[in-house]
């Protein structure tokens, strides 16, 4: 008996054990290269998938892993997507739309006086953000982050979203009952959605997506990072908003979450925040997304070429990643004239005028059958490549008024996250944000021979006896 009691006691202790969750409730936006670094020593599948991540999803934001992360991530990104749209009236519309769903809450049996407190927290935030946008004080993003790092506020808003999700599932029980145990929707919602301490599951994600995200005209995708075979995270779209005619909305804001088993964080594409992208009327066909290095590898097939000396160096492509990033020159040019010419390679300059021209290519590329938007790319089809340079370097384009995001690829390297950051290639080798052992030995380090900015470490007599530079690395 004493043994049983002891066991029961231990069981109780282990049941009550909660790992200490640390970090901010919602973190600052940071470069997603940090994820790559985090997995640098993990197994190859994680390594390959996370290495491909920063090129497509330039930024990420952590959520505290306290069991609420998925709820919090969705609630936060919903508000953030509205801020990104930047239209103050949209906030008023959303408040009206959410209030109109309160009859669902009533019919699900939630007492009005209880949920209205949480609804008011959400509405207050909508109003404050709208006010900030009207004032154009640029504080909306900070305000949102601040609010969501207040435990009470973020719990209130999350609980409001939970109740809406639960009411949605219950009012559409026909659609959901096949996905819950025994088809008992009410009990399921009570235990898995309404409970104060429950992690979000797919039923709730679908419910939130249908009830809150899609009607707001926001897209929603989850990238699953797991050990399944593949070279990239698996993307599952949950919301693809359409207009009243059923046509997909052009360029909706998109919520992107990164799911690692048991935990959600938030991902962003570089374009989500680039002012160049936001304030420029973007045609669906502009090569801008290509310039951001998103997904273009689908459109090109590298053709074997024995001229690529790089492939002959043993260990050059040990990660198998090198080939994924063909050295095609992409040139963003606001003028619609196709530039089917040899282009000079610019040193990753986001500046409007190229500084130097270094013609170089090692491989040739063929475009596949669908060449509809090929006119935007500059593809070299010289044969053989040794005849280079055929064309003299193109003079700096004169017709550029806005500062375009110009990223040109000249080597067999995939674009680095740093290229997308302002001030990149401002002439000097950019300072390193951190120095860990993993980082030092990776190709992100400029002292690594695989780095496009390869710069060997040099001996400097001044620092020979300096011992104080360890701390300096971390402070940048």
């Amino acid at each position: 008996m004493a043994f049983d009691e002891e066991l029961a006691q231990l069981q109780k202790l282990s049941g009550e054990y909660e790992p200490e969750a640390t970090g901010p409730l919602v973190g600052e936006r940071q470069s997603s290269a940090a994820i790559t670094t985090e997995y640098a020593n993990a197994d190859p599948i994680y390594r390959i998938k996370t290495a491909a991540l920063p090129a497509k999803y330039a930024y990420f934001r952590t959520c505290r892993g306290d069991g609420h992360c998925g709820w919090r991530a969705i609630a936060f990104t919903y508000f953030e997507a509205l801020v990104r749209v930047g239209n103050a009236t949209k906030f008023t519309e959303e408040e009206a739309r959410l209030s109109s769903m309160h009859n669902l809450l009533d019919s699900a049996g939630f007492p009005h006086d209880v949920y209205i407190d949480w609804a008011e927290e959400a509405f207050d935030l909508l109003r404050e953000l709208a006010q900030s946008l009207r004032n154009e004080d640029g504080r909306a993003a900070d305000l949102l982050l601040h609010k969501f790092n207040d435990l009470g506020t973020s719990l209130s808003i999350m609980t409001y979203f939970k109740l809406l999700a639960s009411a949605w599932v219950q009012s559409n029980s026909e659609n959901f009952k096949h996905f819950v145990p025994m088809g008992d929707v009410k009990t399921y919602c009570s235990l898995n959605i309404e409970a104060a301490n429950c992690e979000i599951d797919n039923v709730a994600i679908v419910a939130l997506s249908e009830a809150i995200i899609t009607p707001a005209g926001i897209g929603f995708e989850i990238m699953y990072l797991d050990r399944s075979p593949g070279e990239e995270v698996n993307v599952t779209p949950f919301s693809q908003p359409t207009d009243h005619t059923g046509m997909p909305l052009p360029n909706p804001p998109v919520i992107r979450l990164l799911y690692r088993p048991g935990h959600y964080d938030i991902l962003y594409k570089a374009g989500d925040f680039s002012p160049t992208v936001q304030h420029q009327p973007v045609q669906p066909q502009t090569p801008l997304h290509v310039a951001l290095a998103a997904g273009y590898h689908d459109s090109f097939i590298p053709v074997d070429s024995n001229v690529d000396v790089m492939t002959m160096i043993p260990g050059m492509y040990s990660t198998g990643l090198g080939q994924r990033w063909p050295p095609v020159s992409y040139d963003f040019d606001p003028s619609p004239t196709p530039q089917a010419q040899m282009t000079p390679v610019q040193p990753y300059a986001p500046t409007p005028t190229p500084i130097t021209s270094v013609p170089s290519t090692h491989q040739e590329y063929m475009s596949p059958v669908h060449a509809s938007h090929m006119a935007h790319h500059n593809i070299q089809l010289e044969q053989p490549p040794v005849t280079l340079p055929i064309h003299p370097p193109r003079p700096p384009p004169l017709s550029i008024e806005r500062s375009p995001l110009t990223i040109e690829r000249g080597g067999p390297f995939r674009p680095s996250i740093y290229e997308l950051e302002p001030g990149f290639a401002s002439g000097q080798v950019h300072s390193l944000p951190f120095q860990t052992a993993i980082f030092r030995n990776s190709h992100y380090n400029t002292a690594h021979f695989l780095n496009p900015d390869f710069q060997p470490e040099e001996w400097s007599p001044d620092t020979e006896y300096s011992t104080a530079n360890k701390g300096k690395y971390k402070s940048t």
Binding site: A8, E16, T159
Partner: protein, 153 residues
């Protein structure tokens, strides 16, 4: 404690006052509204009849996102109340993983009364008392009355 939580506790107190479950009295101190003292009469249809029990309901700072904590200040012979100086009761909707923010204190008070009439031996904190309740109901009731006489008069 956030303003929202205080507002909610105040409102719930108002509701409890307007509709106090029979056989209960709530002492509420406005200066410390997170600690309620409840005086509870043993329900007539239970072996606890005739006893007067003092309970404490403590609201955590995260209320209503975490459940209130119920503890018996009067010793009670019950499978769902810990037989120590804490006298804690933690089952059903009071459990952290089952608590729902829309739940109210009135529901908690009703749960306590229900459990005094009908203990839940399958979710017991005192296995030996639960065992006795299941296998030797007479002995159990005798012990209950004995403790009522000793501690709850």
């Amino acid at each position: 404690m956030s303003a929202g939580a205080k507002k909610r506790i105040m409102r719930e107190y108002g509701e409890c006052m307007a509709d106090t479950p029979p056989g209960m009295k709530i002492n509420f101190d406005e200066r410390n509204m997170t600690k309620w003292e409840v005086l509870l009469d043993g329900p007539d249809q239970s072996p606890y009849a005739g006893g007067h029990f003092k309970l404490e309901i403590n609201f955590p700072n995260e209320y209503p996102f975490k459940p209130p904590v119920v503890s018996f200040k009067t010793k009670i012979y019950h499978p769902n109340v810990s037989n120590d100086d804490k006298g804690s009761m933690c089952l059903g909707l009071l459990r952290a993983d089952e608590w729902k923010p829309p739940n109210k204190v009135v529901a908690v008070l009703r749960l306590i009364q229900t459990l005094m009439i009908e203990p839940n031996p399958d979710d017991a904190i005192e296995p030996s008392i639960a065992n006795e309740y299941k296998e030797n109901r007479k002995e159990f009731e005798k012990n209950v009355k004995d403790w009522v006489k000793r501690y709850a008069k």
